[in-house]
């Protein structure tokens, strides 16, 4: 007998908090910096005079706010947030919002890590280099690759860097005719976008209507002598795994194309299957997804790229090397694509990933993958059983891997309320809104939850119960849904049409400077 799930009371703080620049009181300061002592001032000389040439003519428009006011400001803003520490991060499918162990954050504040300066002599930063080196050995084993670089700081950056490696590789072989990249519609759209930015022409395969996967015959028709590379995600965005993937890589190799695996989210396959065995030449892991480094609002991420030996010489500089007694940085790489990021990239993301791997070990990482798939299959089954108005498109009998693309199509047909409305209400239950789908939508009213290994059965049952209640509310109390949210900090955003017409643009300001300019406020 299933026990009744009790929904917790929730009400979020809602502050009508101005942005920090609007809090400015001229002359107010958070910290009064002490004047330099006379001895120091004399030793330093006329510093401002020396840099007069580069000195600003006008003061920068920095916020002028006292310390208590500033603390209140950020505390309030924090109260209006939802994150994996105060809610279930199941809603953000494809992002893998797992619990980030606090011991890692504790370690990150160790002075030995905090105080490292990238311009130190490498003899004095052996510790951090050792972390890089050892993390690389772990990643090589997990991916079946021969070298890794941790310089790209995001998934998109990693894809772009891999596209640069593809270009360099073909240049080195004199392949001037390689101008096209093949990808699938259910791969991450950045696979197409980043490589297109580099000048490649993109050929996208549509999903098969029944399976959701790329059709192999169509794929072969897309390949040609011009194909420089394939960029593919697997399992795809839908959560469906393409188990013919080795045939795809084989066919690409037959036309001398490079096989690039977007494993930004590798949570289903860690310790289970490796890019190398599937025939890939290049790949990347997002350390801020699979490896428990937090997603910091575009903050310190890392798109770790892995490659086979044939691409090693082209990797960005510097690489971290070990000569048997000490670690060093190798900048002397004549075939390298060059620099992609200053210094070592985001050392904090690499260090957290190292800690995560070391604390779990191989068995633990494999278990994380297995549990994340099990959790998702359980959740998908429960949603389809319990939440009215939901359906599953594509591969109806197929089990999903770590995430599932579902659809509120029937709910919408029945009530006129769809995923956007469900999202407006979900936050009233203290759960962050659901990630829908990448563009373009291939199922109506899409949503994509991902209950990775951090959540237990109670969490998932609770989550499904909230979705069920909202779907019932859509039928029985549509007005409450239509006017939601009621208990959350988040208000309804202003309707801004998703185009860049002057009219819609007129309602937007992407920076403070643009805001002041456009609306005449300061």
């Amino acid at each position: 007998m299933a026990k009744e799930i009790e929904i917790r009371e929730f009400h979020q703080a809602r502050w009508n908090e101005p942005i920090v620049l609007e809090l400015t009181v001229p002359g107010e300061r958070g910290i009064l910096v002490a004047k330099a002592e006379q001895e120091v001032a004399e030793a330093a000389g006329d510093v401002l005079g020396e840099i007069a040439g580069v000195r600003r003519k006008k003061r920068p428009a920095l916020p002028q706010v006292s310390q208590p006011r500033l603390v209140r400001h950020y505390s309030r803003v924090t109260q209006e947030m939802m994150g994996s520490d105060n809610t279930l991060g199941i809603s953000q499918g494809t992002c893998t919002l797992k619990y980030n162990p606090k011991v890692q954050e504790h370690m990150m504040r160790h002075p030995g890590l905090m105080d490292v300066h990238p311009l130190q002599d490498t003899d004095t930063m052996q510790g951090i280099l050792e972390i890089y080196y050892k993390t690389e050995q772990i990643m090589k084993e997990l991916a079946g690759m021969e070298r890794f670089s941790f310089l790209p700081v995001a998934g998109g950056h990693a894809i772009y860097t891999n596209a640069q490696l593809v270009r360099k590789y073909h240049e080195s072989k004199g392949n001037t005719h390689k101008t096209e990249i093949v990808t699938t519609l259910h791969s991450h759209p950045v696979d197409a976008a980043a490589s297109s930015t580099l000048g490649y022409k993109i050929i996208t395969l549509m999903p098969d209507e029944k399976t959701g996967l790329p059709n192999f015959e169509e794929y072969k028709a897309a390949l040609s002598e011009k194909t420089a590379a394939i960029f593919i995600t697997n399992p795809e965005d839908t959560g469906i795994f393409n188990d013919r993937i080795h045939e795809f890589t084989e066919a690409a190799h037959q036309v001398d194309a490079v096989c690039v695996y977007d494993q930004a989210n590798a949570n289903a396959l860690l310790g289970v299957a490796r890019a190398g065995e599937a025939g890939f030449d290049l790949m990347h892991f997002n350390l801020h997804k699979t490896f428990s480094s937090p997603h910091g609002s575009d903050g310190p991420g890392c798109g770790a790229i892995g490659c086979t030996g044939a691409f090693e010489a082209f990797l960005p500089k510097p690489t971290v090397e070990f000569d048997g007694s000490k670690y060093y940085l190798d900048y002397d790489r004549k075939d390298s694509i060059g620099y992609v990021k200053l210094f070592l990239g985001n050392a904090t993301a690499v260090t957290r990933a190292y800690m995560w791997c070391m604390s779990l070990g191989w068995e633990g990482m494999r278990q994380a993958a297995v549990i994340s798939v099990l959790n998702n299959q359980y959740m998908t089954k429960k949603i389809l059983e319990k939440v009215p108005g939901v359906s599953l498109h594509y591969g109806k009998g197929e089990r999903r891997m770590e995430q599932t693309r579902l659809s509120f199509d029937k709910l919408f047909e029945e009530t006129g309320l769809g995923i956007v409305d469900v999202n407006h209400r979900l936050v009233d239950y203290g759960i962050s809104e659901l990630w829908m789908s990448h563009h373009p939508f291939t199922v109506p009213e899409p949503f994509t939850p991902e209950p990775c290994e951090s959540y237990n059965k109670d969490d998932i049952d609770y989550y499904v119960e909230v979705l069920r209640r909202i779907a019932v509310e859509c039928r029985e109390d549509p007005e409450t849904i239509r006017t939601a949210p009621h208990k959350c900090a988040r208000h309804r955003p202003i309707d801004i049409p998703a185009d860049s017409t002057e009219e819609s643009f007129g309602k937007l300001a992407t920076t403070w400077r643009a805001y002041v300019k456009r609306f005449g406020k300061s």
């Binding site: 993109i202 050929i203 028709a221 956007v420 955003p493 998703a498």
Partner: protein, 383 residues
């Protein structure tokens, strides 16, 4: 906490009471008084009223926030009342058996002048044509499918989804719309067994994208997509080569970007980014193709919801021209949304020459954006 201070949204409703009447009794359409009379004699029962009422019931949820303007009796008023809505304004109308296409045209004209936010109509392709004639693209419309022939892209999937989509459009995205094809068969030819709908024009329908506002990754607006498709095609144009630009809104953007006049449902020919001939006939094109030393390429788009590349709206691109040029000189372009909405994600060739249709079958590339293409399967229509 609602923000219902804004004015009521206005919905126009036109029901073609005889739409679909010929279908069940095997008359392949309902155009013309003779056929309608014959259908009634054969025991046909109008289906449009029930289907319209089913859609209108979905609007009941917003009854207090919308005002309905419709036509007398069976042209909308009866259906409104059956669905529990009381219209605020009723235009003159006639009952089943007594209406003519001109009534629909007049009503559509009146409603577009009245400035409705959405014009709902129940009928088939013939009705859509009449709406197009009366309202043009001045108003956003949505069809409740109730006719025998539904080839136009202006209809919802079924009456219930028409109601839901209308509600969503009125409540959340009344300013967002896109153009969709108005197609119709020549019914006489259809009765002789020929299925060859023509493209008559484009009506504005609610934009699917209104469903996905406020999301993390907003859908790429179609406007931008069209411009990048056009840019890709224009970038690829070679000097001295003729380009025949086919019918449709996707191909129209090529002409707009070149600042050239465009024939929406015809073929224009350009060379070196200058207009050579507008709205050409098959014969004119054939002559260009045969000019000694000339190189002709054709830019075509796909009929939304159906997938036709040849045989709908591009009849000028005849079998002999296709044979002469070969598919390598025929460039296809469409938005991703349009390709994804095609049944089976496939393109259809219905050139009128079944042998050619079979020969053409295969995988082709379709331009979908800047430096971006999709692979689509082209098949004969009867496959």
């Amino acid at each position: 906490m609602s923000n219902e201070t804004s004015r009521k949204m206005r919905v126009g409703l036109i029901v073609n009471p005889v739409a679909g009447i010929g279908g069940r009794v095997g008359l392949k359409g309902s155009d013309g008084a003779e056929i309608q009379k014959k259908a009634l004699e054969l025991g046909a029962r109008p289906e449009a009223p029930d289907r319209a009422a089913a859609a209108l019931r979905k609007l009941g949820a917003a009854a207090g926030r919308i005002s309905v303007i419709t036509c007398q009796g069976g042209m909308g008023e009866d259906e409104c009342r059956a669905a529990g809505l009381s219209p605020e304004q009723v235009l003159p109308g006639r009952g089943a058996g007594a209406t003519s296409p001109e009534d629909t045209v007049q009503a559509a004209r009146a409603m577009s002048r009245a400035g409705v936010d959405l014009l709902l109509f129940a009928g088939g392709d013939g009705t859509a044509r009449n709406i197009y004639e009366g309202a043009g693209d001045r108003v956003t419309v949505l069809g409740i499918p109730a006719g025998v022939k539904i080839h136009s892209g202006v209809f919802a999937l079924n009456p219930a989804s028409a109601g839901s989509a209308a509600l969503r459009h009125l409540e959340q995205g009344a300013e967002n719309s896109r153009e969709a094809e108005v197609m119709d068969l020549d019914e006489d030819a259809y009765r002789r067994g020929e299925v060859r709908p023509r493209l008559y024009g484009f009506l504005r329908v609610p934009c699917d994208e209104t469903r996905i506002q406020h999301v993390k990754a907003r859908s790429v607006p179609e406007e931008g997509e069209l411009t990048s498709i056009a840019a890709q095609l224009i970038d690829g144009m070679e000097p001295g080569v003729y380009y025949a630009v086919g019918a449709g809104t996707t191909t129209r953007r090529v002409m707009e970007c070149l600042d050239l006049p465009n024939t929406l449902i015809g073929v224009d020919v350009i060379r070196d980014k200058k207009l050579v001939a507008s709205d050409v006939t098959e014969r004119q094109l054939w002559e260009i193709a045969q000019e000694p030393g000339s190189d002709l390429r054709v830019i075509l788009t796909v009929i939304g919801g159906q997938g036709h590349v040849f045989g709908r709206g591009n009849q000028q691109i005849s079998p002999r021209i296709i044979r002469r040029l070969g598919m390598e000189r025929i460039l296809l372009a469409a938005t991703k949304r349009k390709l994804l909405s095609l049944p089976g994600h496939r393109l259809i060739s219905d050139t009128g020459d079944p042998e050619l249709d079979r020969e053409l079958a295969g995988y082709y590339r379709v331009a979908v954006g800047a430096r971006e293409q999709m692979i689509c399967r082209l098949t004969a229509g009867d496959e």
